[in-house]
Symmetry: C2
Subunit: 325 residues, 2 copies
């Protein structure tokens, strides 16, 4: 089939806007029912001046994305959004995301529906990523999936029987704030020993730098400031840093083994910048899961890296609104 | 309404056999669609001579229960069973329950359907207890519930949107084998630091006796052999034993907080003999959950003791077969 026919086919499907809104960047796309991304814009999120500026920014980026697609507004059937939680996905109300100022019980869905004139569905960003991976990524075709987001924070989204499991108060999936070390290090949530304190990018860097400071032969090494540097010094043969990353894999493995025995999903998807640490992290993670979880749980469990990367949130947001149209 | 009318009403409903089969005792009842138990027999399980004897025992107890109800076989529409796992609830195949000899991939459902001539539904005992509590017990009316069974072992059953969540290989709910203490004590499953190693009746007794042995002023106290004795010595003011039970509550609290943040259920139901330790256990459990779980998860979370006690498995087994008829 030629490329023109292909394009015609894509456009003949229903189309939606899909957005992955973050505190730093926002990605907005036009997506069809097959999960094809037809247009994609990425911009720094305008949010310095508070929530009104941010809502205006989302609306104008939506309009711009439609225009860039050479579509009219009438050709868009709805809009799906992945947004930082906590939020109520049913009502589309944003509570108070830790990294955004001035958001406190904002009925974002209603506001956007009024402005854009189409149905809007809002989902927490970790759930959107999980749904995207389930729809078109690593988890395509599975019945149940737990997606762990490993980045600035550690979050998670649960897909059961093909649907997001939200829980009683819309916070299900918070694997980052389950205890892995009872008397462990302090977490930003106020608790101690949470997975996030060890396995988010900042937590890993702190632990790497602490280990380097304690090591005798590395006095000359400056503190590392990002995970790329961590990978580099491991490549250069630094055992101290390698051991911290392996240990991070073990700690993640405890949390994943707990998920395996508790929820017994078909698949765990690992997602986010921390996964760029690669095999040094993932091998020890998988070993620990095998060591701790029931054989019957691990035999049927696939542990995979995200296939969609930055697009998982957009595709999840798109799937979410398609499922409601 | 007089008692005779009441009885007539009960009998006019569809009736099923419901069994809670254990390695020690089996309880068998006739139950109607309202969850009323019309007849209930309890017998020591005949299983010394292996699985064939045990299957014959289940069949003869079923027949006896129908007879004791003054019913004919034709008035029974089906049979629900709670049975020790692991098992496949969909096919009704029993794998290899640790406390039963000679069971290895036994298609129990098919065998019983052939003998009894009615549809049979088999569910793992922890799931049956969870379903019973959801249907007619502490969790009546809630949307999601996690039932923790605290007895010889520690297990669990998950109800989501009113249905049992089985997972990909029928082992979901195994809270007893999630890690609570990373480098903790050895568990019978081969792993270390599992909740069960600390919070099952045998684990608690071992920890109590270890603490007494270490204590200076209790040299005269003989090792305790059951949890009733544990409650007694606490009543007599033994601080050492009280502290072990409070510590058990804290460890249980870590596991419950993890469930709260991960699954965000509406209710946790605590079930089984260990809950007879009462407030000494439950107060520290609840405090630890509050300390570790998100406020948004705990605000909407009720932690309750089983309301049905020994009948939860029977009522869950009954509900399970009713939902399939």
């Amino acid at each position: 089939m030629g490329s023109k026919n292909c394009l015609m086919e894509k456009i003949s499907n229903n189309l939606v806007l899909a957005a992955d809104v973050g505190g730093t960047n926002t990605r907005m796309a036009v997506v069809n029912e097959n999960g094809d991304i037809l247009t994609l814009l990425k911009k720094a999120t305008h949010c310095k001046n508070g929530r009104d500026e941010m809502i205006e920014f989302i609306i104008s980026l939506a309009v711009e994305t439609i225009e860039k697609s050479n579509l009219s507004k009438e050709e868009i059937c709805g809009m799906g959004i992945g947004f930082p939680g906590p939020l109520n996905a049913e009502t589309g109300t944003i509570f108070n995301p830790p990294n955004l100022d001035g958001w406190d019980c904002v009925p974002l869905r209603g506001m956007l529906e009024k402005e854009l004139g189409v149905p809007v569905a809002i989902e927490n960003d970790a759930n959107a990523a999980a749904l995207g991976e389930w729809w078109k990524g690593a988890g395509s075709g599975v019945n149940s999936l737990f997606c762990i987001t490993l980045g600035t924070g550690v979050g998670g989204g649960i897909i059961l029987d093909g649907n997001i499991w939200h829980g009683a108060s819309s916070i299900a999936g918070e694997i980052g704030h389950t205890t892995v070390i009872r008397d462990g290090i302090k977490c930003t949530c106020g608790n101690i020993g949470c997975l996030e304190a060890y396995a988010c990018s900042g937590g890993i860097l702190r632990r790497v730098n602490d280990a380097l400071l304690k090591g005798r032969n590395n006095d000359s090494l400056q503190p590392l400031t990002d995970l790329k540097q961590v990978s580099q010094v491991i490549k250069q043969g630094n055992e101290t840093v390698l051991n911290v990353i392996k240990e991070t894999g073990v700690i993640l493995g405890i949390a994943v083994a707990n998920i395996a025995n508790l929820l017994n999903p078909e698949m765990i998807v690992l997602f986010g910048g921390v996964t760029n640490l690669g095999e040094n992290l993932v091998v020890s993670l998988k070993e620990e899961v095998k060591r701790r979880a029931f054989k019957k749980a691990t035999e049927s469990l696939r542990i995979e890296l995200s296939q969609l990367g930055d697009n998982s949130g957009i595709l999840g947001a798109a799937k979410n609104i398609f499922s409601k149209l």
